[in-house]
């Protein structure tokens, strides 16, 4: 089955939650799927976000549910996180930290790349 990489480059928002919905459906279809957070997409990862104060659902909670749908590979482009002051300890999810070369490799390895 064709593998998909969801490339997340935008910060948390209502639209980000809709991206997660698509990831979940990939999981339901048992499609090999992984996620790479890059650029402002890394802003979706820090825990202790209080989305309710902005009147929207917490994206990190939805991301945390991905593993139960078979999407276990969450990856972070480490230079993007570093540039935004986000450290390993800030991220509550189980993620892999990738450097530039590793991010390039996973982008090339996927059959399909879906951007947000």
């Amino acid at each position: 089955m064709r593998s998909v990489l969801y490339l997340v480059r935008r910060p948390p928002s209502r639209a980000a939650n809709e991206s997660v919905e698509m990831m979940l459906v990939s999981g339901v279809f048992e499609q090999p799927a992984s996620v790479l957070f890059m650029d402002d997409g890394v802003r979706q990862l820090p825990q202790r976000q209080d989305a309710a104060r902005l009147g929207r659902k917490d994206t990190t909670k939805a991301l945390g549910a991905l593993a139960t749908y078979g999407i276990e590979t969450l990856q972070v482009h480490a230079p993007s996180a570093a540039a935004r002051g986000i450290a390993v300890a800030d991220v509550g999810l189980d993620v892999q930290w990738l450097d530039d070369a590793e991010a390039r490799t996973v982008l090339h390895a996927a059959d399909v790349v879906i951007t947000d």
Partner: protein, 130 residues
């Protein structure tokens, strides 16, 4: 080559549907096939039949419908994203207790599974973001 399109930007607030249409025309001209055009997120606003545009603005939805009709391309909008934005067919309107359907004829509503199937079947999937 069979190509699936994922269009996520609104016709009014972004260039995504218009850019996707230009891409689709170019792809056909180069001998490829468009497998499906799937509208998600704000992209679903293209299927609102109550959109009323000033006379001097192009109707991207009408252009998409003409293209789809001529080339046998399915135009599908995500049912959940569409319902959030007030775009519903008769069935969804009845289910949600809404007064009437707002979906423009020629568009179909379907679940995200249709997009996953399209990306599994197509040789390439091209995304047009907001």
């Amino acid at each position: 080559m069979r190509i699936a399109l994922l269009i996520q930007g609104a016709p009014q607030g972004s260039d995504a549907p218009a850019a996707a249409l230009r891409f689709a025309r170019a792809a056909l001209a180069a001998g490829h096939r468009i497998h499906r055009a799937f509208f998600h997120k704000d992209g679903v606003c293209i299927a609102n039949r109550f959109v009323s545009l000033p006379a001097d603005e192009p109707d991207v939805a009408a252009e998409w419908l003409a293209f789809a009709d001529r080339h046998g391309v399915e135009l599908t909008v995500c049912v959940a994203a569409a319902a959030r934005r007030g775009v519903v067919d008769a069935g969804e309107a009845a289910r949600a207790g809404l007064e009437g359907a707002t979906l423009r004829a020629g568009f179909e509503v379907a679940g995200l599974g249709q997009m996953i199937e399209a990306m599994l079947e197509a040789d390439r999937t091209v995304t047009f973001g907001a």
